[in-house]
Symmetry: C2
């Protein structure tokens, strides 16, 4: 008599399904695995994760709350678009948050914060050395998020992380189109920022954060300027 084959790992803890779906979809959206405009189908996801639509739905509500997906009433829901026309507002906001969080980190960091920040910077340097674009983007985010945490202002940290995540989508396009030697420069700037924070030099931290932000903004703007030229019909 043949043994009955059971599904390998159908076991899941009670409240874990939502977080699982949320985290995975979030990553896929930010990595552009699910590019803007991708349709999100509830039943399809329910089959994929072999669970009911209810927890899927809860994860989608959360993602919608963060603006990562758009829901048309009674109709489809899809990955939200990047508003290229208003990118300047994004740059404006993220530059300010770079400055504020770095300033506050210089002011309020505790002894335990610096090792964490340095660890993230080491990860970033490793990703740069390996020329791993996806890892660079992720570790860069974590590095700055750690600085924001050390600044001890949850409101700024929340906005900054949101902006960094939205930036992940934009940076993903950036690194998709060309790889140059700038990442090394970013790594060096990170080191300077750490030094300024460790020295509790608020003004230096602010200056470095601003130039770091300007640097990134300029790079992205150049990318889009180039793309726009390509878009012109001949």
């Amino acid at each position: 008599m043949a043994d009955i084959i059971v599904t390998p790992i159908p076991e899941r803890k009670r409240g874990s399904g939502v977080k699982l779906v949320y985290d995975l979809l979030r990553d896929e959206i930010l990595d552009l695995t699910l590019p803007p405009g991708s349709p999100i189908d509830e039943v399809q996801l329910a089959e994929r994760f072999s669970m009911s639509r209810t927890p899927i739905r809860e994860a989608l509500v959360r993602l919608a709350g963060e603006g990562l997906i758009d829901t048309l009433p009674n109709r489809s829901t899809m990955v939200s678009n990047i508003d290229f026309l208003n990118l300047h507002t994004f740059f404006e906001a993220i530059t300010l948050m770079y400055r504020m969080t770095t300033r506050l980190a210089a002011k309020h960091h505790n002894p335990g914060d610096l090792p964490i920040i340095r660890a993230h910077q080491a990860e970033f340097a490793k990703a740069v050395a390996a020329q791993d674009a996806l890892a660079m983007i992720a570790t860069n985010r974590d590095f700055h998020a750690a600085i924001a945490e050390a600044g001890r202002n949850p409101y700024f940290t929340a906005l900054f992380c949101r902006l960094l995540d939205e930036g992940r989508r934009i940076l993903r396009m950036y690194y998709q189109s060309f790889d140059d030697r700038l990442p090394q420069r970013y790594a060096d700037e990170h080191e300077e920022m750490i030094t300024a924070i460790a020295a509790r030099d608020v003004d230096a931290a602010d200056r470095l954060a601003k130039s770091h932000a300007d640097q990134i903004v300029r790079q992205i703007q150049q990318l889009f300027a180039r793309d726009q030229r390509q878009d012109i019909a001949l």
Copy 2:
């Protein structure tokens, strides 16, 4: 034969239930009708709105996403507490947002924006004249939200509105404990801000926003200093 009595208004449009519950709970939380720590019971709400637990749940997930309620896994969910120990981070953030949004409004406002802002200011003045504390809080929020809208940076607007809403809870306590003549001063400062915005005077807008914010922060701090004295055991 007696007519069968039907429930008066059981009709509700398909996707409207969630928004209904969300808006109402949100208002009750921000007005302190539901003070921090109040238990939120799903079945109770389901009965109150005569609908299933599913839409209630969705509304709660959204509120949790904004940090207005805290959810203990598998156990109760309740209105989130106000973190009085870290109020300074709140003041820091809202002061910066007052400044940024007012600056940006001075820079980017369109002809259509000023009438809207003035309308909200008129509502605020009316509430002040009527000594209606709740209306003052609500119209003050709307006034500053309108300025933020005119600044045309959705990231700042979103954070600012969130801070203003969180502030609604704090201000509610403020006006509960004592009414003085300061609201008139706030109304005057509002007028000055409108003038600066209309004149596109960024520096003046910034200065006024900063002093306005400082004014409010100082008032709240005085309230809490007073409360703290009362809290000391005799």
